[in-house]
C-alpha cells in the first residue's frame, strides 16, 4: 500500500460527512502530504473524484475492497 501522512476513518458516515471530514483533515496537512480515507458510503467514490477536481487536490488512488472504499488524496 502506498504511504500516507494521515488517516481518516469515515466508515459509517453518510453524505456529506466524509467530504467535510476530509476537507478538515487536509487543512491540517502540508502541501504534498497525503491523506488516506476509509469510507463505507458508496456515493463517496464519485464525490471524492468531484472534490479533487474542484479543490485541486490530487486523487492518487480510489479503490474498493471488502465493501469499503479507500482513497488517497495529495494536498495541492
Amino acid at each position: 500500500m502506498a504511504t500516507f501522512d494521515q488517516e481518516l476513518d469515515a466508515t459509517g458516515l453518510n453524505c456529506p460527512l466524509p467530504i467535510l471530514r476530509a476537507k478538515k483533515a487536509l487543512a491540517t496537512l502540508q502541501s504534498g502530504q497525503v491523506l488516506h480515507i476509509i469510507a463505507t458510503d458508496p456515493g463517496s467514490v464519485k464525490d471524492f473524484e468531484a472534490f479533487a477536481k474542484q479543490t485541486g487536490n490530487q486523487l492518487l488512488e480510489s479503490r474498493e475492497e471488502g465493501g469499503k472504499f479507500y482513497f488517497l488524496i495529495k494536498k495541492s
Binding site: L13, N14, C15, P16, I19, L20, F51, Q54, T55
Partner: protein, 159 residues
C-alpha cells in the same frame, strides 16, 4: 481562481427539508465556495438555538413508511395525535442508523466554514419571533440584502 458563490433561500421548516440547505451549503464551503443562506418564513425554524424539527407523512404521499404503511395505512389515521412525533422519532432513528448527520451537526459545520446565515427580518416581525431564540452569528436583513450577494452568485437555489 476567484471564489465561486452559492446563494440559498431556505423556506421550509420541517426535518426532511432542513437537510438540503445545510448539506449543500457545507459541501459547497468545503469545495471552496463562499456561501450565504437566507432563511425566510418557516425556514427560520432551522436557525433556532434548539431546533424542534418534525416530519409529517400527512400530505406527503412520497414518504416511505415501514411495513408498506404508505400503501395501506389510511391517510386519516396519519392525522391522529402523536403520529407526527412517532414519524419524526422513526426518521431520526433511521438517520442515525445510516450515519446521516444531525441538523445541528451540519449547521455547526456550516458555521465553522463561515457560511453566512441571514434571517428575514420581515418574517421575524410577522411571527413575533424572539431573536434571542436564534443562533449566534445570525444576521438580519431583507430582500435587498439577499440580492446583494445572490446577484453575484454562480448558483442560486430556492429550497
Amino acid at each position: 481562481m476567484s471564489e465561486k458563490k452559492l446563494a440559498i433561500i431556505a423556506t421550509k421548516g420541517t426535518l426532511d427539508w432542513a437537510y438540503p440547505p445545510f448539506i449543500l451549503a457545507s459541501t459547497a464551503a468545503a469545495l471552496g465556495y463562499e456561501v450565504q443562506i437566507f432563511f425566510t418564513f418557516y425556514g427560520l425554524q432551522l436557525v433556532r438555538k434548539q431546533p424542534d424539527l418534525k416530519v409529517s407523512s400527512l400530505g406527503n404521499p412520497g414518504m416511505p413508511m415501514p411495513m408498506g404503511m404508505d400503501k395501506w395505512f389510511p391517510v386519516l389515521f396519519q392525522a391522529l395525535p402523536g403520529m407526527e412525533s412517532m414519524m419524526t422519532a422513526m426518521m431520526k432513528q433511521k438517520m442515525k442508523a445510516k450515519g446521516v448527520a444531525s441538523i445541528e451537526e451540519l449547521r455547526n459545520l456550516c458555521l465553522e466554514a463561515d457560511v453566512k446565515m441571514i434571517a428575514c427580518q420581515m418574517t421575524v416581525d410577522l411571527f413575533d419571533m424572539n431573536p434571542s431564540d436564534f443562533i449566534d452569528g445570525l444576521e438580519y436583513g431583507g430582500a435587498a440584502t439577499f440580492f446583494e450577494f445572490a446577484g453575484e452568485s454562480d448558483i442560486c437555489l430556492y429550497i
